[in-house]
Symmetry: C2
Subunit: 186 residues, 2 copies
C-alpha cells in the first residue's frame, strides 16, 4: 500500500498537473530542476506499472477498443485514489526523522502543495519543519562543542559545520517562506 520511494510521488505529482506519458515524465526529470529523480527507463516504466497496479494512475485509452499496442505512446492520468493518496502524503506531519533523513522528500512535498492542499497546510508544514530542524540543530551544536574541544579545526569538524549551516539556511528559508505565504493569504 505504501509508496516509499520519492520517485513514485514525484511521478504522481507531475501527473496531477497534467496527464503525461512515461517519456514526457522522463524529459521533465532530465531537463528541469527535478534532476534528482532518475531519468532512466529502467526505473520510470516499472514505477508507472506499480502505480497502475495499485490503482493510483490509469492509462488513457486512445480508442476504446484497440487492445493496447505496447509500443505506442501511452499517457497516464491520476485516478481519484491516486489524488487521495497524493493529498494524504502532502498532509503528513513533518517528523524529526524527516528533517534528518528525508530532506529532499520534504521539499518535494512542499513544492507540490500548491493547488492540492489548502494554504494552511503549507503554513503548518513550515512551522513543523522549522521546529524539528531547530531541535535537531541544537543537538548537533552540542556535539560540535564536544568535537571541537578535543580536536583543532580539522576538516572533520568543518564538514560537520557545513551540515549545520545548511540547516540554518533551511530555517531562514522557512521563516521567509512563511512570511510570504502568510501575507498573501490575507
Amino acid at each position: 500500500m505504501n509508496a516509499k520511494s520519492n520517485l513514485e510521488f514525484a511521478l504522481i505529482g507531475l501527473l496531477k498537473q497534467k496527464p503525461q506519458s512515461g517519456y514526457d515524465l522522463r524529459k521533465t526529470f532530465i531537463t528541469t530542476a527535478m534532476r534528482h529523480y532518475s531519468d532512466s527507463p529502467g526505473s520510470i516504466y516499472p514505477a508507472l506499472r506499480r502505480l497502475e497496479a495499485r490503482g493510483w494512475i490509469a492509462a488513457e485509452a486512445e480508442s476504446p477498443h484497440e487492445a493496447a499496442d505496447p509500443r505506442k505512446r501511452r499517457a497516464y492520468r491520476l485516478t481519484p485514489a491516486g489524488e487521495a493518496s497524493l493529498v494524504r502524503w502532502l498532509e503528513m506531519p513533518v517528523t524529526r526523522n524527516d528533517v534528518i533523513f528525508e530532506g529532499s522528500e520534504l521539499m518535494l512535498r512542499f513544492a507540490y502543495m500548491d493547488g492540492n492542499v489548502p494554504r494552511s497546510s503549507a503554513l503548518r508544514f513550515l512551522d513543523q519543519f522549522e521546529r524539528e530542524l531547530s531541535l535537531y540543530i541544537g543537538e548537533l551544536r552540542a556535539q560540535l562543542e564536544q568535537m571541537s574541544s578535543k580536536l583543532p579545526a580539522h576538516t572533520g569538524v568543518l564538514a560537520f559545520q557545513s551540515g549545520i549551516e545548511q540547516m540554518e539556511a533551511q530555517i531562514a528559508w522557512a521563516q521567509k517562506a512563511r512570511a510570504l505565504l502568510g501575507k498573501e493569504s490575507s
Copy 2:
C-alpha cells in the same frame, strides 16, 4: 574495482582511523553524526566482505592458528591497497556532477582529508567545490527567473529557492573554511 557506494568509503575512512569490528562501525553510524550511513547489519557486513574480497581491508587474526569462529568478534584493518584507494578517492577532482548529485559524498571526502592527504589537497577541493557550485547556481538562478515570471510565489518556486539558498550556504561555508585552512598552514 570501483566502490561506488558511499558506505564503503565511509567504512574504510573509519578503519583508517583505527582498526575496528563491524559492530564498532555500526555503533558509530548509529550514535554519531554519520547517521546517514546505514546502521543495519544487512548492509555493513556484506560491505565489509566486499572490501575484504577486494583486498582493501583484512581481518586481524586473533591467534594465528585457530580457524576463524564466525561468531567471534572480528576486527578489520586497512591494507596498503585500501589506504591507496582511500587517498585516490580523496584526491578526486570535484566535478559539476558531484555538486549536483553527490553532495553528501563530497562532505564525507572532505571530512576524511585530515591526516590522509596534504593540506593543499583540501584547499584545492574547496576551490573546485566553490567554482562548480557557483557555475551551477548561476544556471539555477536563470531557471528561477523564468519560473517566477510565469507564476506567482507558489510553493514550487519557494522549494526551488530553498535549493539555491542551501547551495549559497555551502559557498559561504567553503570560503570560510578556505580562509581557516589557509591561515593555519602559514
